[in-house]
């Protein structure tokens, strides 16, 4: 490996290899190696996370880079059961970027902060010569107060059942359609949304949550593979239970994608103890009718994810690989 390729940013296999061979190797510590969505620090009381946003185009059906920048980090905190409290906001702006667009983006960020009940307390602004970045890149870092301890992707067992909070792949499909100038005659839009309200509802109802993870780059396929590997389990998914909208299916048909590998920005995967699964589903359905129970945990093929079809065949669902969709988030 001599130069970095676009595949290294895909959220899948190559991305993980880059992170472990370069970054984890240098920054070695226990907290980092847990590979959770957010780091749990300060005696399990706080969650801490960072994310950079380079999405192109900047504005797309259902969202924009500003909303994404707030959702992205706040969701990572929510996935550890933490209430987002304080964010930083660092921007790198290309010379010549349009003022109005910048204001629109910042307004969008403000709106989303209100949904999460969080505030921006620190930031940085850099302007670089034309061509050094593509219009604007944003980084947000967030701290949240953990409301429910112990949520971890390393603790999933056969007692758990796998759920997904809504139909999948909408963000990836929307970005691709926007980028390719594909006209959508229907209502396809990004699922970009803040997840803390749903997480709060689950915590308030005392649901036995084992793990949560939002399915960003690499999609649901990446999450399930990471869980299988981190918790040393086999995740078995019933293919016909996976909720996919017609519109996303259409894009996948057209472009040969698998919805499970497409990015989401407002969809999360849950591992919930069996006895609470239907209660959790009911709560999720209040926000999205399409929430579903999609699978179980077994020890059939440890470390792997198995897809069971409706006609009795099965195959492995692999970690996505290659350059699927550059600059998706």
């Amino acid at each position: 490996m001599k130069t970095i390729t676009l595949a290294h940013g895909n959220g899948g296999q190559e991305n993980n290899e880059l992170i472990s061979k370069v970054f984890y190797k240098a920054f070695k510590n226990d907290i980092l190696e847990k590979s959770e969505d957010a780091a749990v620090i300060h005696n399990g009381e706080l969650a801490f996370s960072t994310d950079s946003f380079t999405v192109s185009p900047l504005f797309f059906p259902g969202s924009d880079i500003g909303k994404l920048a707030v959702c992205g980090t706040c969701n990572d905190l929510a996935m550890m059961g933490a209430k987002p409290k304080y964010l930083t906001c660092s921007v790198i702006i290309e010379e010549g970027f349009d003022f109005r667009s910048l204001e629109k983006i910042v307004r969008s960020m403000k709106k989303e902060l209100e949904v999460n009940g969080a505030i921006v307390v620190s930031g940085d602004t850099k302007v670089v010569p034309r061509g050094s970045v593509d219009k604007i890149f944003i980084n947000t870092t967030g701290i949240g107060e953990i409301q429910k301890k112990g949520i971890s992707s390393n603790n999933i067992t056969k007692k758990d059942v796998i759920l997904v909070s809504r139909d999948i792949g909408a963000h990836g499909a929307t970005i691709f359609a926007s980028r390719e100038g594909i006209d959508m005659s229907s209502s396809l839009q990004s699922d970009c949304a803040s997840l803390y309200p749903q997480v709060k509802a689950l915590i308030d109802a005392d649901i036995k949550i084992t793990a949560l993870r939002d399915a960003t780059r690499g999609g649901v396929a990446a999450v399930l593979n990471e869980w299988a590997s981190q918790s040393n389990i086999c995740v078995e998914v019933e293919e016909d239970k996976i909720p996919i909208s017609d519109e996303v299916n259409g894009i996948c048909e057209l472009l040969g994608f698998e919805a499970m590998a497409l990015a989401n920005e407002g969809t999360f995967v849950l591992a919930i103890e069996k006895e609470d699964a239907s209660k959790a589903l009911e709560i999720l359905k209040r926000t999205n009718e399409t929430a579903s129970i999609i699978g179980t945990v077994s020890d059939q093929y440890i470390g792997k994810v198995v897809l069971n079809s409706a006609w009795g065949t099965k195959r492995f669902l692999e970690l996505p690989t290659g350059e699927l969709l550059p600059r998706i988030c």
Binding site: S185, D246, G250, L254
Partner: protein, 94 residues
């Protein structure tokens, strides 16, 4: 590479010989330059890399689907008969 998909024609631009097609809610344009027969709105066509390759023969498609319905019915009928036979032969009957 062989990604060719059935789509429905929703509009025809005769000047440029381009059809607007709908594929599961995605609307795109496809060139009709490779089609020799007349194409009208409502027709089903097979699309490949931006071109309509051929019209889908609706009669044949429906005939195939009809065959599938029949073999499923036949299978279910056989399953029912087998279930009754198994029941009749069941040793545990009082």
């Amino acid at each position: 590479m062989c990604l060719s998909i059935p789509s429905k024609v929703t509009h025809i631009d005769e000047e440029h010989n381009v059809a607007t097609i709908d594929t599961m809610g995605v609307e795109r344009k496809a060139s009709l330059d490779l089609i020799d027969e007349p194409v009208i709105v409502g027709d089903y066509v097979l699309i490949h890399i931006g071109f309509a390759m051929n019209k889908i023969n609706e009669e044949d498609a429906l005939a195939s689907l009809e065959i599938y319905k029949e073999i499923i019915e036949k299978m279910e009928e056989e399953d029912r008969r087998q279930a009754i036979l198994d029941d009749d032969n069941c040793q545990n009957r009082a």
